[in-house]
Amino acid sequence: MAFDIGLVTLVLGVAAWTIGARETFAAVVGFVAYGLLLALVWVRLAAPDVAMTEAALGSGLTGGLLLGASTRLARTDGPAAIEKPSAIIRLAAAVLCTLVSAGLAALVLLMPEPAPTLAPQVAANMAATGLGNPVTAVLMAYRAIDTLLEVVVLLLALAGMWSLAPDRLWGGFPGPRHQDDPDSVLSFIGQLLVPVGILVGIHIFWVGSVAPGGEFQGATILAAMGILAMMAGLVGAPAVSGRWLRLVLVVGPAVFFTIGLAGFAMAGGFLAYPEAHAKMLILMIEIPVTLSIAATLALLVAGPPERTTQR
């Protein structure tokens, strides 16, 4: 109990500090710390799957994206500080934020007791999916359409970011070229950590069927290893026009959608699986989806195309 109160105080404190931070970079660092603390909160709520997603995606990968954004915004920090919004705008923002927070708090506090839940039905029917982890069962079987849409949204986000590139760089290579210096620390850690990280990523993905883990968490680790290898200069970022790259990005959603459509013939509904083959079909979806998510996330962090040659 004392630990939980301390944790909540810390989360609120870091959140307030992050909002109050003057520099964009400091705010991003606060946001990452906030995400890691939030992951601890999820662990305390006995939701390790959510905790892993929060730590990997919410804190780690989003933190990386925000760090990139803050670096790009660094030049505008000065001008932005000068054009201070008027008191009325700031008041309106404060009122709106308070209203949203109060609304969320009211919703949580007014929830009926016990809260409506479908958990018993999921537990009772989980055997039909052939999976041992109820979270994965919900994500891949009962709410598979949500997962499919999430994967598509990621792809749309990447297409949206790529479209920020000027026309002459379209189809080029994302981000600056990182020097491959074999004596550098980054090169060393890349060579040492990337193979280990790939193993851990595949493991996290694989155990998702019976234990906390799954394709999003595993894919984030794989993406992080890709980013590390690119930053260390061990591999060059692929051209965004590359056919193989496009194929890897699309294969996950495409297979997901195809098996979903096949559900009409096999089990009488979109994304319905025949019971005898449920586990195999879910695995057939998950492997390409993990690959696509990993590639999409890594390229999101790499940024829009910035150069037309590999050098």
């Binding site: 620390v185 980054l186 060393f188 850690i189 040492l192 950590l193 280990v196």
Partner: protein, 97 residues
């Protein structure tokens, strides 16, 4: 036997927590970037190592123990690398950050 293991765990984890505290104090109080990094990594590596050592007395099975040690080794590796990179930038800028 289990009492002895519990005592070992409490001792080890408490010592680890002390090192975390010392590292945090160093991070807040030391005058320049390099000393602060020194305080942070030395204390964190040892702190986490002792916490992991304490938890090793509680785990069942070789694999779980191996995972804990793996976590410590990865944290060591990441900590050492990031410290090198930050220290390099600190030295390049020649400031106390």
């Amino acid at each position: 036997m289990s009492l002895a293991l519990d005592v070992l765990t409490i001792l080890s984890v408490s010592t680890g927590a002390f090192f975390f505290l010392a590292g945090t104090v160093g991070l807040l109080r030391f005058p320049d970037a390099l000393s602060r990094l020194h305080a942070l990594t030395k204390a964190d590596n040892l702190g986490l190592g002792l916490v992991v050592l304490g938890l090793l007395f509680q785990v069942e099975g070789f694999l779980a123990a191996l995972k804990l040690v793996g976590v410590w080794l990865l944290a060591l590796l990441a900590g050492a690398t990031v410290t090198q990179l930050i220290a390099r930038i600190a030295r390049m800028r020649g400031s106390t950050m």
